[in-house]
């Protein structure tokens, strides 16, 4: 799980940063008189960023919706108590387990 989270964070950072760096390099090479081209580039950038944001958003939102559906207490697959529920305070966890 920790590996999954680490990979996800790295992917998230890459998706967010790579287009920015690419655009920054592109902008430095662009001559100022190409105003219309630059405007088209800006909108291309917008749609690329939107695609990246919506893709990540869809994955995370989809995961959240699935989590809510799968782990709700009324789900027939989820009738058994969690392994922490015998404790005085499940949210505090079991100190012997390291939680």
């Amino acid at each position: 799980m920790k590996t999954l989270i680490a990979i996800s964070i790295i992917v998230l950072v890459a998706i967010a940063l790579v287009p920015q760096i690419a655009h920054a390099q592109l902008a430095q090479q662009t001559a100022p008189e190409k105003y219309l081209d630059l405007r088209a580039t800006v909108w291309n950038e917008f749609f690329r960023m939107t695609t990246a944001a919506f893709t990540v958003g869809a994955v995370v939102s989809g995961t959240m919706i699935w989590l809510v559906w799968r782990f709700r207490e009324s789900n027939p697959k989820n009738k058994a108590p969690t392994r922490w529920e015998h404790l005085d305070d499940p949210a505090a966890g079991d100190p012997e387990e390291g939680h």
Partner: protein, 515 residues
């Protein structure tokens, strides 16, 4: 107020108490009161914009400016900060196992500065916008409203610094010796982080306010271009304080979700360490991004790139919080009572608002959206979608603790559905309005712009839904605090474990000592 409703005590005893739970109640009552006052202003603004070209409700643009200025100031400084401080006052000493805040009298003084500041803001009813940019606020903004705004903000700022010092000392110096700092509950960590941020950020704005005042008096010309001053300097001072302030509003709501989600998932938090790390990270990178509010002011390219990267650095830390929440829910047995509904809804909207923020932080895109309704939609999606949902969830969570009674779960569900739907409808639509070029802070727009009219009307209907949801909330708070079923104070939601924080509060006036 198990205490107040079941064993009444004189109001003055609460008002002049220095006990942390009493001061916390005062903050909560104050904050919730101003939530509704600011909400009424929001309803007036949105209803006015439903009818372009007709001047419905607001007859002139100057009044419109005053209304949205006071709406913004109220929601940020008279609702969000006091409610965070209120819940922090009640819970932080208990979480660090100390008898009270470190400086109880200072704590009460910090609270009582709030009504004074609020009176100045509301009686002045300034038109400077909440950002009060120079040169307008220096040269043209009419007095005494703008001067009352300056003094009001000054008093609220001093109050923030005093309460922040109190939180920092309480958590770091007064925590139980057996409790290492890394084990301090994450809500207390969030309050520690935002308090440190406030201490670093707020003095800059305090200085800017004094400079603005002396400029207005004609003594100096720091921001006055006619006197050789630089209005852009004000922007730097303002945003150095108020970009971190965004996190100061946000992090307590995240901390509240850390309280609620494990408890209703019936399992421990996935990772305390990553939560602490993400809070500290956000506390640091919050200071690396103020320039993204000012891309269009003529900064050089390199500076913009630095601020763009500084802004994007908040993404991994925010992602850590979201992943921590999801991993905590994973494998749990979740009961979706009101606090959990609002927390999960808040996470979903936090993610949506964050995605908009990533787009906004990219400087080429920022030029398109700057000064448009996109910004209004983005900012409100954060403030209502994350902070509002976190706070409301926490208020439901603390309802049995404060009143000794249970709210109606059905009405709370109706509140959640209306608020969630309304938030999405209102503020997602405003993003589109911004892309279609509608400027923010406009009193009216041409009726011939049909698409603007339709989108504004959709947005306004969403705002009415949010308004209706808060009417339900207010009615619930009032009715069920007096007539609700007595709560099982050991386990009000029947989720097992202990609803244990109330047990530890010891109010010498008799308040919580009954439990």
């Amino acid at each position: 107020m198990v205490l107040e409703l079941q064993k009444p005590r004189p109001v003055w005893q609460i008002m002049f108490s220095t006990h942390h739970t009493d001061v916390g109640y005062l903050y909560l009552v104050f904050g919730i009161t101003f939530l509704f006052m600011g909400g009424v202003l929001a309803m007036i603004i949105r209803t006015h914009l439903f009818f372009p070209g007709q001047g419905v409700l607001i007859s002139d643009s100057a009044t419109f400016n005053r209304i949205f200025t006071v709406h913004g100031l109220t929601m940020l400084f008279l609702f969000a900060l006091p409610v965070a401080n209120g819940i922090g006052n009640i819970l932080v000493p208990i979480m660090v196992r100390y008898k009270d805040m470190a400086y109880p009298k200072l704590n009460a003084i910090a609270f009582w500065m709030n009504p004074v500041g609020a009176a100045l803001l509301w009686l002045g009813f300034s038109d400077t916008t909440w950002v009060s940019y120079a040169p307008y606020s220096v040269i043209r903004a009419p007095g005494p409203a703008a001067d009352m705004f300056i003094f009001g903000m000054k008093i609220l700022g001093i109050s923030s610094i005093l309460s922040s010092i109190n939180f920092v000392v309480t958590v770091i110096k007064c925590k139980h010796p057996d409790m290492p700092l890394r084990r301090v509950p994450l809500f207390a960590w969030s309050m520690l982080t935002v308090s440190l941020m406030t201490i670093v950020a707020m003095p800059t704005y305090a200085a800017a306010l004094i400079m603005m005042l002396t400029d207005r008096l004609g003594i100096s010309g720091f921001f006055n271009p006619w006197a050789g001053g630089d209005p852009i300097a004000y922007l730097h001072l303002f945003w150095f304080t108020f970009h971190p302030e965004v996190y100061i509003f946000l992090l307590p709501a995240i901390g509240m979700m850390y309280e609620i989600i494990p408890r209703f998932s019936r399992k421990p938090l996935y990772s305390q360490a990553s939560g602490v790390f993400a809070f500290v990270m956000l506390g640091i990178v919050g200071f690396a991004s103020w320039g993204h509010h000012m891309y269009s002011t003529g900064m050089d390219f390199t500076t913009k790139v630095v601020f763009m990267i500084g802004t994007l650095a908040a993404v991994p830390a925010s992602g850590m919080h979201v992943f921590n929440f999801l991993a905590t829910m994973w494998g749990g047995r979740i009961r979706f009572s009101a606090p959990m509904k609002f927390s999960v809804g808040g996470i979903a909207l936090f993610f949506s608002a964050g995605a908009g923020g990533v787009l906004n932080s990219a400087m080429p895109l920022d030029f398109i959206t700057h000064g448009t309704y996109w910004v209004v939609g983005h900012m409100h999606l954060f403030l209502i979608g994350t902070i509002g949902f976190g706070f409301v969830g926490m208020i439901y969570y603390m309802f049995p603790y404060i009143t000794g009674r249970m709210y109606s779960e059905k009405l709370a569900s109706a509140h959640f559905v209306l608020m969630f739907w309304g938030t999405v409808q209102t503020f997602f639509t405003q993003h589109i309005l911004g892309l279609m070029g509608m400027p923010r802070r406009v009193y009216d727009y041409p009726t011939s712009f049909t698409s603007w009219t339709i989108l504004n009307q959709i947005s306004t209907v969403g705002a009415w839904l949010i308004g209706a949801s808060f009417v339900i909330f207010l009615a619930s708070l009032i009715y069920f605090s007096a007539k609700g079923k007595p709560a099982n104070m050991d386990d009000p939601w029947g989720i097992g474990g202990k609803y244990y924080y109330p047990v530890a509060a010891k109010n010498p006036h008799g308040g919580h000592s009954g439990y």
